[in-house]
């Protein structure tokens, strides 16, 4: 079945106990994992609706990443800690807890071969860990501002990490060497009157053919402290490293929190901010979206279901919403 973004509708709401921060489907598609402001990681069985709270972090958990075999999920916390959890246990307890960084760990990613876990955050150091035993493999300093996002190249040879300054570092996974930097200055601003940095590469992904690296965040931040900004997507040609396309959602106030490619190459974005929550959809050539769908509440995170037909979004009203990209089923 092919997704039809123009038919997107909210099909289901899953209520949690606290405002949500992150949402990720496990590779099997059986579960939706969320993190929340009550410091919990939650596993929701999408068939039964049963929710299990997984407690172990001493602060909010920001990101989630799954092992290649789908049996383990790693959460990254604002408590300096990475926690490994079993996906299928009846009452999941931490398998392992690692003090991995000094400060917030904003992003985790697993390598395509499943061997390595990458993490990064406010201490501006990228770290690679052995996924099987949690041992540190390598540290890669070099970012000058906080690290916001990460993704492995489909080949597994490189790791890409994006920061608040709008820079995307390309690291050689085997050696830890910084190979290249993709410059995304439009994704960052220093706002002089409020004396704050604003923006950052909030999400990274590769196009399905691997020819494009895509970063997303915000621009037009005329009032950072008041949430006046608009989502921005930058596409880079992998071969040349040059920015090839800018994609925007004009008139919508918000931040691009996460981007995912649909199987047909359509790029989906979850955006949230003072303008409310949106799912936006782009083709590969136009600046404007082919469709935008307004959600009932502002979006804080999103993920694409392995079936390619559903998008989960995380919201402040304690709910995860599942939107289907097909016509509504008749009652």
């Amino acid at each position: 079945m092919k997704p039809d973004p123009k038919q997107t509708h909210v099909a289901r709401e899953l209520a949690g106990a606290a405002p949500l921060i992150c949402c990720r489907f496990d590779p099997s598609g059986k579960y939706l994992f969320t993190t929340a402001e009550d410091q919990s990681v939650n596993r929701v069985n999408l068939t039964s609706g049963e929710s299990v709270a997984m407690l172990g972090h001493d602060s909010w958990a920001r990101d989630l990443a799954f092992s290649k075999d789908g049996k383990t999920v790693v959460s990254s916390g604002f408590d300096d800690t990475l926690i490994w959890w079993p996906v299928e246990a009846e009452k999941p307890k931490p398998i392992r807890s690692v003090k991995a960084h000094k400060g917030w760990i904003r992003t985790v990613s697993v390598s395509p071969d499943g061997r390595l876990l990458a993490s990064g955050g406010n201490d501006r150091i990228v770290r690679l860990w052995n996924m099987a035993d949690g041992k540190l493999v390598r540290e890669m300093p070099g970012h000058t501002l906080d690290i916001y996002s990460s993704v492995f190249h489909p080949s597994g040879k490189w790791l890409l990490t994006g920061d608040l300054a709008g820079k995307i570092n390309q690291w050689d996974v085997a050696t830890g060497k910084l190979t290249r930097v993709f410059e995304g200055p439009d994704l960052h601003d220093y706002f002089k009157s409020q004396q704050v940095h604003f923006g950052g590469v909030r999400s990274l992904t590769f196009s399905p053919d691997g020819k494009q690296l895509v970063g997303a965040g915000l621009h037009k931040g005329t009032n950072p402290l008041g949430a006046v900004c608009e989502p921005l997507i930058l596409r880079f040609d992998w071969e040349t490293g040059k920015q090839s396309l800018k994609q925007t959602m004009k008139g919508v106030k918000g931040v691009a929190w996460r981007i995912r490619f649909l199987k047909d190459g359509t790029l989906a974005l979850g955006s949230g901010g003072s303008g409310g929550g949106y799912l936006g959809f782009w083709n590969g050539k136009d600046e404007a979206p082919i469709h935008k769908f307004k959600l009932p509440r502002s979006v804080r995170e999103m993920d694409l279901h392995p079936d390619g037909m559903q998008i989960a979004t995380a919201h402040w009203d304690n709910k995860a919403r599942l939107s289907r990209m097909e016509a509504k089923a008749k009652a």
Binding site: E37, S59, Q195, V196, P224, L225, A227, G273, R300
Partner: protein, 429 residues
Amino acid sequence: MKCDYACGSDEHAMARRSFLGTLAAGTGAAMGGLGAFTSPAVAKELARDQKRMIVVDLHGGLSQLESWDPKPGTDTGGPFRAIPTSVPGIHISELLPHTAKQMHHLSLVRSINIKETDHSRGRHKMLTGYKKTPAGAYPELGAVVAKGLDDGSNSLPGHVKVYASGSGARSADSAYLGPKYGSISIGGGKAPANSERPSSITDEADAQRNLLRQRANERFLNRRRTAQTDAYMQSYEQAAELMARREIFDLSKESKKDQERYGSHDFGRHCLMARRLAESGINYVKIRHSNYDTHNENFNFHFEQLGEFDKPFATLIADLADRGMMESTLVVVLSEFGRTPKINERYGRDHWGKAWSICLGGAGIQPGAIIGATNKNGTAVSEREVDAGHLFHTYLRALGLRSNRQFNIGGRKFPMADPAMEPIRELLT
């Protein structure tokens, strides 16, 4: 000689001392005042006992939950944790690790309710002790302190505000206390504009023109003397003193080591400037750090702003302590209000005047104290609620001023602080 303004008023006493000092110093001498009569040893003693105040204004509304009154693990606590400080039992936000090590010089008031959530009204209340009213203007804290501490011996301006850029202009924030106590704004680590004598005027020419001015003044004063003429003379003397001592505003005179310790960003430089001005005898210095009005991404922005605030502020406190100045210097860190315990949809916190905190320490303040408390998730004061007027009285008492007294301005009496309020006595030494 004729004296047209009320005898027995503050101006009369001040003007008399200044006038006597000027005449006794004679022609060609530097501007006088009491200093002209004192021996170096006595002057040193006076300088040591001289009280001063430094206010750090965290502009926009610092979140008490991300600073002085953290509530980790609650529905309002947010992601930051609490850390112990150098005072057993006192915990503050993990965003302030350097300040935590200086907590034994500082205290917290955690139970402030100013009943205001507007920036301008909140700022007015915190800096004057009064609710803003269209009926009239109240003098800011700096003006009250400058006047209260003015014994006539110090010709430097008593009320200085430090910004990233400042023209040296005098503000009208002294209200009925008069222009002498209005703040002078300085900026950029440099002396106020136009404070350097033009190079075309030689020392000899300058001395001669001062002599002419003094003789003209004496002749005028023999016939007619008013509070206004004295105020003019005092302003001129103050400006002349400022010109003679303009280097106190020049941060490049501080050691490179100290400049590095405080940091090269504006706030670090302003903390060093505050120390320098306090050491030089300025009664009241206000510095500002911006911006804390975090309706959006409160945690990201507090991480950034307090990351910039923490080390220079802690360095300032440590330096004041090392120099033996904490006993005579009151340091207050304040905002116009706090921020909502409830976290909004955009990870922000909004304006909140009901239950928030300040940090203070030094002259007259019990170190390592916590006054008041808020409830479990910070949504209300649970103990010892105080308003801005209570704080205002407390600052003045800490500086050795009797806050229930009145200023006599041209024969009219003005309370030093809101008579309906009183100091937080348990905070005072």
